[in-house]
């Protein structure tokens, strides 16, 4: 049944009730779509991730528009944007910043690294060494960095969009371990554009043009407002029951190598609430959970026979098919 649902993912999700939030989301999706054609659902999920205050991992083949998406998001939301290209010789200081001795003032002056930005694109995160990866991941978790004994708070809001090529593909990469994958609220795949979008894409001139046409439609305050309101979205007992059953299923069934962690289940709820808010509702319905679950849970789940962490998608589908919304 859910293969049917999967196909529908490209469409606009469930019912959208008109509200300030859903209108804002609609505007933002329209803007970002100018840069990334035919990927409304993925854009919505990315927005959901950012509004929920989580970090986003985009995993796909090169040239699928990962960077374009993050750049367009930053523009549409009016966020300060920095891009770090991860390479194997990148050092933590290259991300966090460094103090340099100023000859004139005879003082060390701190030069903040690219991490001090509202939206950081960590491109090809699996190209760099674990040491540098963990510097970034620490900053993601703590939302502050400590350099030379001084703690510096990162800007608010602070988002990291990390991209990586599929692990199976890339030689010479350092795959992120589960513990670090867990820190990303969502992992998205963009996938090939459909024929109509592809055609449109081909008709355009250059990629630069597309991003230039993206206009800011939300402010930082709007983004923070989303986060504030999503916490107030109602989750009824029967919905929480459903989510609990889902989580219990991942923990109690043999096909799962390990179940969802409490951080994972919190992430599900956070994303579902934000999704509900984005759809203009102030209560969560099972469809919200079902929509965000692949993005939220795929990278946290792994089948018993799995070696490289790419069975999550089918597991989540199986999970959604196995657990009924009514007990």
């Amino acid at each position: 049944m859910f293969s049917l649902n999967l196909n529908k993912q490209a469409e606009i999700p469930a019912d959208i009730v008109e509200s300030d939030f859903s209108l804002q989301v609609g505007a933002a999706v329209t803007e970002v779509s100018k840069a990334l054609l035919g990927k409304e659902h993925q854009i919505r999920l990315a927005l959901c991730c950012l509004f929920a205050g989580g970090h986003l991992l985009i995993e796909d083949l090169p040239g699928m528009g990962k960077t374009t998406l993050s750049y367009a998001l930053a523009k549409a939301l009016g966020l300060g944007y920095n891009r770090i290209q991860f390479t194997s010789d990148l050092l933590p200081a290259d991300i966090l910043g460094i103090s340099i001795f100023d000859q004139n003032t005879h003082e060390f002056l701190f030069h903040p690294g690219p991490i001090f930005s509202q939206l950081v694109l960590a491109d090809e995160i699996n190209r760099t060494t674990p040491k540098t990866q963990s510097a970034l991941l620490e900053a993601m978790e703590e939302r502050q960095v400590t350099i030379e004994g001084e703690t510096r708070v990162l800007p608010e809001p602070f988002f990291v969009i990390a991209t990586q090529n599929p692990v199976t593909l890339a030689a010479g990469t350092y795959p992120l371990p589960e513990s670090q994958l867990d820190r990303f609220l969502m992992r998205l795949h963009l996938g090939y554009p459909d024929q109509r979008a592809e055609r449109e894409l081909l008709e355009m001139n250059t990629e630069r043009d597309k991003i230039a046409s993206v206009k800011q439609c939300l402010s930082t305050a709007d983004v923070l407002n989303f986060r504030k309101h999503s916490a107030r979205v109602n989750a009824s007992d029967s919905l929480l029951d459903y989510v609990q059953r889902l989580i219990a299923y991942t923990r109690g069934t043999d096909e799962f190598h390990f179940g969802l962690s409490p951080r994972g289940s919190l992430a599900v709820m956070r994303a579902a609430k934000t999704w509900a808010l984005m759809c203009g509702r102030n209560h969560v319905i099972p469809e919200d959970v079902q929509t965000i679950l692949p993005a939220v849970a795929e990278h946290r789940l792994r089948a018993n026979s799995d070696e490289d962490g790419h069975t999550g998608a089918s597991l989540v589908q199986r999970l959604l098919n196995a657990v009924d919304i009514i007990e």
Binding site: A14, S238, H283, I285, Q290, N321, A322, I325
Partner: protein
């Protein structure tokens, strides 16, 4: 083993209280140190919980086992193999289990033991009060089980208690039915139960002081209810027990050979019975419930004819139960007040009833001979002796002066005070001295009437001794020398006769009898006893026979078929009850009304092949149905909106709102059905 398991605080509290309550009724019967150990263990377990003490180490546990073994051996040596030693051993093991109670499994063991210990308490006493107490304790143990299975974070004592009470009440009907109909299977073995081993009532020997000892006790001996007739007057209430016909100068004994020792003797006796008695045929029926005595003999009004199985009569018309009376015994008798027995006295009986020690009491013998010479007949002589008691300053007391070697002489001529046994003994002696067959009868005299349930209560202090004298042409005639000394003892009762005697009821200082001088207290006492009596009559004495009678009353004549049907029927009811409970707890049927209605939507749509799929959310379902059957889109949309509203929008609703919305839901469901029926027909 899960080392980290910590028994929830609330559960432990319930547990320890249960154990304490279980031990209390037993502590009365067990040695004091067992209770002390029990309290130490309970406190120890509580301290383990607070972290002040540790679980006992290996050495400690071995020491405890050795200690228990030693104790049990010494207990068996002191008390013999019996209930008391077994109970205290069980209690020891029970309380020691407490201090090594770590796991959930251990608690269940302790809880099961709690129930076992309660049953042990039941062996000691089956009174109403005890039953109520045990019911309360059962509720509390149930509470312990509930507390154990609730979240450790919940400390809701009232809730737990309420739930336990509910469970208890639910169990009551089943218990009653099982009690009524469960087959009473005879036990394969039995522990000799020494309940009430202290006071055993009248014994088959009578030395001076024996009966006055009973006079100090306010314990109940038996209760009597007369059937359809008014009870006899107080002065006629001679509850005849044993016939004591052998006298050695100090003690009156029962001649063993007078009981029936062999089957042929019994047959012979049955043949003779009718010939030995004369009655006017007007008997009274009554029922006696005797408290346990650990003796085989029972009591009744002379001349009694047993109406129950297992009750036999001896040559002297004493009544015997088949076996020692270790628990309350209920039996029916038919008594003939106007009777004559043994008009012809057989020689061996005559000589037995004339036997006296050859020496001693010279003064009394002389006195008897002179008195006999002064009257014409044996009958006159007997009355002359009674008159002697009456005329002289004889005194009726529980605390008579001590008597010397020649007891009869001392009593008759110097001390002049005594209890009924002194009078009866002396009277029989004086009769036998002059060749009149006579004997001492021990039993009870008098009773207290309980007007609430119309029965009589006979207490230990009603114990009495009197005489039977054989007179030519009259047979055995009852004489009571005590009546000559203290007429109120016989006319009104021993309470009246001994009201000012400090020794009376001294064993039971605060006995109901003493308090009974206040009339409202007395009323209450009688009412309580009436309840106890009904309890004993209807519940405690409900045995195989009574069960049989009940069945007969309910189903007519008992046939094997009927019994089998009844048992099968009952088993069926029990299984059905269990099955229904299981079905009720089966997940899936405990849905709230909203979900139930929504599931019905799916069932309706199943008819046209559009059942909700597993894992399908309401909106997706709606869209799928609408896509398949556009004509249903409207009603499905409304239904889904209402379902989402009710199920996922947690808004506080009042009862009335909820009702209204459910009603709306049902209306929509009706509409869906209406829209569906043409579609379904189409499909067919």
């Amino acid at each position: 083993m899960d080392i980290s398991y910590q028994i929830p605080r609330a559960a432990l509290g319930w547990m320890l209280i249960s154990v304490l309550l279980v031990i209390i009724p037993l502590s009365v019967r067990m040695p004091v140190w067992v209770s002390v150990i029990a309290i130490v263990c309970i406190v120890w377990r509580a301290l383990i919980f607070t972290g002040n003490l540790n679980f006992p180490g290996r050495l400690m546990r071995i020491a405890v086992v050795v200690f228990t073994l030693i104790i049990s051996v010494s207990q068996i040596r002191n008390l013999g193999v019996g209930l008391d030693s077994a109970a205290s051993l069980l209690a020891l093991g029970f309380v020691f289990k407490l201090i090594e109670m770590r796991q959930k499994r251990d608690i269940y063991v302790v809880i099961s033991l709690c129930f076992v210990m309660l049953m042990v308490a039941f062996l000691y006493s089956q009174s109403v009060l005890m039953t109520l107490y045990i019911a309360a304790v059962v509720t509390i143990i149930t509470g312990a089980m509930i507390a154990l299975n609730r979240s450790p974070l919940i400390v809701d004592t009232t809730g737990t208690l309420a739930m336990a009470g509910k469970i208890f009440l639910q169990a009551v009907p089943l218990t009653v039915v099982l009690f009524m109909v469960f087959p009473r299977i005879a036990p394969l073995w039995a522990v000799p139960i020494q309940s009430n081993s202290g006071t055993t009532g009248v014994t088959d020997e009578m030395s001076p002081g024996d009966i006055s000892q009973l006079g100090r006790s306010g314990d109940l001996a038996f209760r009597v209810q007369f059937e359809n007739t008014l009870p006899p007057l107080h002065r006629d209430l001679y509850w005849r027990g044993l016939v004591l016909d052998a006298f050695d100068g100090e003690t009156w004994r029962r001649t063993r050979s007078s009981s029936l020792s062999s089957a042929s003797a019994l047959t012979n006796f049955r043949w003779n019975w009718e010939e030995r008695i004369r009655t006017d045929g007007s008997g009274i029926y009554y029922n006696v419930i005797l408290e346990p005595t650990q003796q085989p003999w029972i009591y009744g009004l002379h001349l009694a004819q047993p109406q129950s199985r297992n009750v036999f009569q001896s040559r002297n018309f004493e009544l015997f139960n088949d076996g020692l009376i270790t628990q309350r015994l209920s039996y029916d008798l038919l008594s003939f007040a106007n009777n004559q027995t043994d008009l012809i006295l057989r020689d061996n009986v005559r000589s037995r009833n004339l036997g006296l020690p050859t020496t001693g009491n010279i003064q009394s013998r002389e006195f008897a001979r002179q008195l006999r010479a002064s009257v014409d007949s044996d009958r006159d002589y007997a009355f002359a002796v009674l008159a002697h008691f009456q005329r002289n300053q004889f005194f009726y007391t529980l605390n008579p002066a001590l008597l010397g070697e020649n007891r009869i002489d001392d009593f008759l001529f110097s001390t002049l005070e005594g209890f009924c046994e002194h009078y009866a003994s002396t009277f029989a002696f004086l009769m036998r001295t002059v060749g009149i067959p006579s004997r001492v009868i021990v039993g009870y005299q008098g009773a207290e009437y309980n007007r609430f349930e119309n029965y009589m209560m006979v207490y230990q202090y009603n114990a009495h001794a009197w005489n039977e004298v054989w007179l030519e042409g009259e047979g055995w005639v009852r004489f009571d020398p005590t009546a000559a000394v203290s007429p109120e003892r016989i006319e009104i009762g021993v309470e009246a006769a001994l009201r000012d005697d400090p020794a009376f009821l001294e064993k039971s200082l605060f006995s109901a009898m003493r308090l009974g001088r206040f009339s409202w207290l007395n009323t209450m006492r009688l009412r309580l006893d009436a309840i106890e009596y009904e309890w004993n009559r209807r519940v405690v004495s409900y045995d195989e026979e009574a069960q049989f009678e009940l069945f007969e009353r309910l189903f007519g004549e008992i046939t094997e078929q009927k019994v089998l049907l009844l048992l099968l029927g009952l088993a069926g009811i029990v299984i059905l009850g269990v099955a229904l409970t299981v079905i009720r707890i089966e997940p899936g049927s405990r849905h709230d009304p909203v979900t139930k209605l929504y599931l019905r939507v799916s069932r309706e749509l199943e008819k046209i092949g559009l059942a909700r799929l597993r894992g399908e959310g309401p909106l997706n379902y709606r869209d799928r149905v609408a896509a398949a059957k556009p004509e249903l889109a409207g009603v499905m949309g409304e239904l889904t909106a209402l379902y989402v509203e009710l199920n996922y929008r947690s808004k506080r609703r009042t009862e009335a709102q909820m009702k209204q919305q459910l009603k709306a839901f049902r209306r929509l469901l009706g509409r869906l059905r209406l829209n569906l029926s043409p579609l379904a027909r189409l499909q067919q």
